[in-house]
Amino acid sequence: MDSLRKVTFGYKWQLSFLFALSVITAVAIILQAYFLVTIVDRVFLQQLTFSEIVWLLWGLLAILLIRTTASYINGRIGIKIGADVKASYRKSLLHKFAGTAISSSSQGQSGGKVSTLLDAVDEMDSYFSAYIPQLIQTSIIPLIILGVVFSQHVNTGLIMVITAPFIPIFMIIIGMQTKTKSEEQQEKLAAFSGRFLDTLQGLTTLKLFGQAKEQENAIEKSSLSFRDATMQILKVAFTSSFMLELISMLSIGIVALELTIQLIIYERISFFTAFFLLVLAPEFYTTLKQLGSTFHSGRSSMGAAKKVTDALTDTEQPVQWGKKNLPAELMPAVIRLQHVSFAYGEGQFSLKNIATVIPSYGQIAIAGRSGSGKTTLLHLIAGLLPAADGQIFVHEKPLMQYREKDWFDQLSYISQHPYLFSGTIEENIAIGGNSDASREEIEHAAEQAGIADLIQTLEDGYDTRVGEAGRGLSGGEMQRLALARAFLKKPSIILFDEPTTGLDLYTERILQQSIQQLSRDATVITVAHRLHTIKHADNILFLENGNLLAEGTHDELVETVPEYRNMVSLQQGVKNE
């Protein structure tokens, strides 16, 4: 995880502070042992009076306070870095998503992105708040302790030097064993929890097919098999901590044995030294072991970080706009597509080599069966997706050389599912305006879109809250609201994804009238689902499997293109029934 390391080194002074705190902690550990042992030594062997050791007690108390404070500040610094990193990563992600969200939302991947933005970023925290501080502590404290031990009694130092490497070695061996296994398990876990949700969500369907009862067993069975699989992994993890504990235990045991022999048989060291070293030994091994436990959370953080950096390095190109002015009086300009291609990803759907000219005030219909690439083409023309190959020219200059604002100021996109933002109805209509629209203008736009009557029947009128946690609007009402946005904006280019489903006839009629009215001052490019629309179009772009199979007027296409004739004759037949 190079990127994480790079980020870490960005926090230079915090890191040096962590180093300093580790040194202080190490010194505190040594002094704590020193005072403790001295007190016991003086009371037990030298049998000094209580008042003679009182200053030692106070000294020990001060050391305890220093040690706790150091670890507290250590934690605070980690928390601070973690928060900082999260904020900056979330910002970069948002920026990235802002550039490329259109293809993901049209591919239904928004959910995954929200989870990356929230969960994955949150999970990165522990790498910085726990793992890094612990890593620094582990690289300093044992060394200082070791130095002190060597100065007191070389043999103990040697025992520590020889036994200590076993801890990281074991951690690495076991880590390698579990790594792939536990990653598999993580995926299984995610999949499993998804499965349970899936079952709950599909309960209506299951009941209608009389299959709900059977699911009880399925849930239990998969829960238990998940348990067993997890236990396999956990067993390895438990064995690893068992081994670590055993190693440190045995090592301390050897230290103790050696000290005892020196103390009794050879009488080469004092009780003080022996006890001092015996108190230090567990501290030495504990710091090493602690790295092991934080290592685990560090690694899950790294997994999350990988998800985040993957999302950031996603090769998907954002749309890059230029600086050229696009004067409003030139609009609607001629739009020319020159061999435009686009693919969502390797092996996925692609638009191939689309070439056409859309004249000013043209009424263009894009037709084709579902999945032929109609909406993708509309997104490309809108400048919401970047062409992988070829160019779109507006007024004979590549679209991408213009200023983004100039282009979008001239554009309305009326989709099948207009989005309602949380806010009032007034705000939702006003979002279409280029500048601050007055209430009158908004009401006028609402009237034109045939939604004013409905709004008036609402208790709060234009101030009614809609969107998340607000009043829901029906599909037809939302369409009309989107129309009101367009009436307020008065665009010179209208991209219109004709609705296929779910509208009441009143809305249908309004929609038709409105588009006609708006088209007087604009080029209209419609993804058409109705014969009426394509019959009245100046030019029809007939798509099949991402290819522009043919273009022309309705009559021309009926004449020359059998696939088109097939599609239309069916609708025709229905009409004449």
Partner: protein, 572 residues
């Protein structure tokens, strides 16, 4: 607390693993104390040049304790985790069993899928209940009490100091910080919810935001929300850290007191000097286990909240007043008639009636189209026929029986239903079709796929949760195929082909009407196509039937349908 009691009841089912967890936890804790006590004693003893064999005994008992401790810790972890996952499985099953009878009525109450994902998260949260809330305090108290009793044997004063320390570190300090923690916690959750809503809005409303040039503004707003959220998380972590630090310092102070008191007692002659090191070591070790108590209140609160929410969901039992009758419709191989008499219905919390005085006759084998603008009550009428909602007034008769007397399950077994939203499960095309009938053969399923023009899919193709990898039209076609494979003779179809193009629609309807030739069929249709094939057409508006008759009759009458048809023709 009541809700947690329910969880505990489920937990107790695993009493053997719980018992082992506690026993081994206790052994691990007490041997750790014993280990350090013995080593403290050992080193002191060594200073007095004792006979060699006492040292041998002491060192080997230290070793033995060490190994016992490691083994016991292993066993504790093994049993406690196994218990946890088994409990989780029990919980899922128990919850599913409670939720199952409430579906699908309960889903109307919680329209968003959000509820369900929260439910799943809550069940997951409860895994910490056993692992961090339920048994560790028991182990901790057992170890502490044994240790205190042991020290009391040497010095009652030291034992009292330990007891005070126990009260402070296990009860007082965690309780002090818990209150603040709960407050911060709530704020963090609210911030998170807000951020997640805004992020979803940002991504889903992306196209409109972009075109209306509000994207940058929204991005800035999101960054602000994120910063506020991170700030609160930081407060949460700091509070946790402070609580842990205070607790750690507290336990060090206790050991310090033991040392000071012990020193004084030795000096005073009330305690043997050789025991001093041992007592200090005991104190240092026993409080190591108290550390996790700092996070106990957090997990406790989490578990309580999760349990409350879970029981809130399943406590809605039968609020919608559906009486589940005990009579079963005979599993017949022929169609039966359906009658509705003066039926009215309104959704709770809505003053306006959704359906008003509906009279409907669907003779056996008849084909009926239900048309009208969106929101006119067509789908609600289906819900009543499916007994997913209870009529406020009037009666519905299926095969001559009042719907109130019939079991829901037997109604569903006799119906072929395609709703506007049809669920597909993670698995394959095959596994999703087998829901209709487990005994289906591959050729049968392939034939059904061909009828809905999905023959480019193979039965082994993967289907993701909710059919995410299928287009709207494909989902509708797959739903129709699945329904065609179920062998019932009453069809309720709610706009089954709204996302399917005309060409495919034509083929699908041809096959559908072939299969349903002798069956009773009701089709909600937005498009006014193929209506002349139907025996009757019911036109609804604002919850009322405003017209009915054959297509020819209604066209001649030149009423509402005629007008709709004119507009549609105009639109075409």
């Amino acid at each position: 607390m009541k809700d947690l009691a329910m969880i505990i009841k489920l937990m107790i089912l695993e009493k053997r693993d719980i018992f082992y967890s506690i026993i081994f936890g206790f052994i691990a804790g007490i041997t750790a104390v014993g280990l350090f006590a013995a080593s403290g004693y050992l080193i002191s003893k060594a200073a007095l040049t004792p006979p060699f064999y006492t040292l041998i005994i002491l060192t080997s008992s230290v070793k033995l304790l060490g190994i016992t401790k490691a083994i016991a810790r292993y066993a504790e972890r093994y049993f406690s985790h196994r218990a946890t996952f088994t409990i989780l499985s029990n919980l899922r099953v128990a919850f599913f069993n409670k939720l199952e009878p409430l579906a699908p009525g309960i889903f109307h109450k919680y329209r968003s899928g959000d509820l369900l994902s929260r439910v799943v998260g809550d069940v997951e949260t409860l895994q910490h209940f056993f692992l961090r809330v339920f048994y560790p305090p028991i182990v901790l108290l057992l170890v502490f009490i044994s240790t205190i009793l042991f020290t009391a044997f040497f010095s009652i004063y030291v034992a009292i100091v330990l007891l005070v320390g126990l009260l402070l570190t296990v009860f007082v300090v965690p309780a002090l910080f818990a209150r603040k923690q709960v407050k911060i916690d709530r704020r963090v959750r609210e911030q998170r919810g807000e951020l997640s809503t805004e992020a979803a809005e940002f991504l889903n409303g992306f196209r409109d935001l972009k075109i209306y040039q509000k994207l940058d503004e929204k991005e800035q707003h999101l960054i602000q929300s994120s910063d506020a959220y991170i700030n609160d998380q930081e407060q949460e972590n700091i509070n946790k850290l402070t609580s842990q630090s205070v607790n750690a310092f507290m336990s060090l102070i206790v050991s310090w007191c033991v040392l000071a008191l012990g020193a004084y007692l030795v000096f005073d002659g009330q305690l043997e000097g050789i025991l001093l090191a041992m007592l200090v070591m005991i104190s240092l070790t026993v409080f190591e286990d108290a550390g996790p108590m700092a996070v106990f209140p957090i997990h406790y609160q989490d578990s309580k909240r999760a349990a409350n929410r879970l029981s809130a969901v399943v406590e809605h039992e039968n609020e919608d007043g559906i009486i589940n009758g005990d009579k079963a419709l005979s599993q017949s191989d022929h169609a039966f008639p359906i009658y509705m008499e003066n039926v009215s219905f309104s959704f709770p919390d809505e003053p306006r009636q959704t359906l008003r005085n509906i009279d409907l006759k669907l003779p056996a084998g008849s084909k009926t189209a239900l048309v009208g603008p969106s929101g006119s009550g067509k789908s609600t009428l289906f819900q009543l026929l499916l007994k997913m909602n209870h009529t406020d007034q009037g009666d519905i008769q299926l095969d001559g029986l009042s719907i109130n007397q019939i079991e829901q399950e037997s109604i569903w077994a006799n119906l072929n239903v395609v709703l506007q939203e049809n669920h597909f499960f993670f698995g394959t095309v095959r596994s999703n079709l087998l829901i209709a009938d487990e005994t289906l053969t591959d050729p049968e399923m392939e034939a059904a796929l061909a009828k809905v023009e999905l023959d480019y899919l193979s039965l082994g193709d993967a289907v993701y949760e909710k059919g995410e990898n299928l287009s709207g039209g494909e989902k509708q076609r797959l739903a129709i195929a699945r329904t065609m494979l179920k062998n019932a003779h009453i069809w309720l179809l709610d706009e089954p082909t709204s996302s399917v193009d005309a060409l495919a629609e034509e083929t699908i309807y041809r096959h559908l009407f072939d299969q349903a030739e002798h069956d009773t069929l009701v089709l909600i249709s937005h498009r006014l196509r193929n209506l002349e094939k139907m025996d009757q057409i019911i036109v609804m508006d604002h919850g009322k039937i405003i017209e009915s008759g054959t297509f020819a009759e209604l066209m001649q009458q030149q009423g509402y349908l005629y007008e709709m048809k004119q507009i549609e023709k105009d639109l075409l």
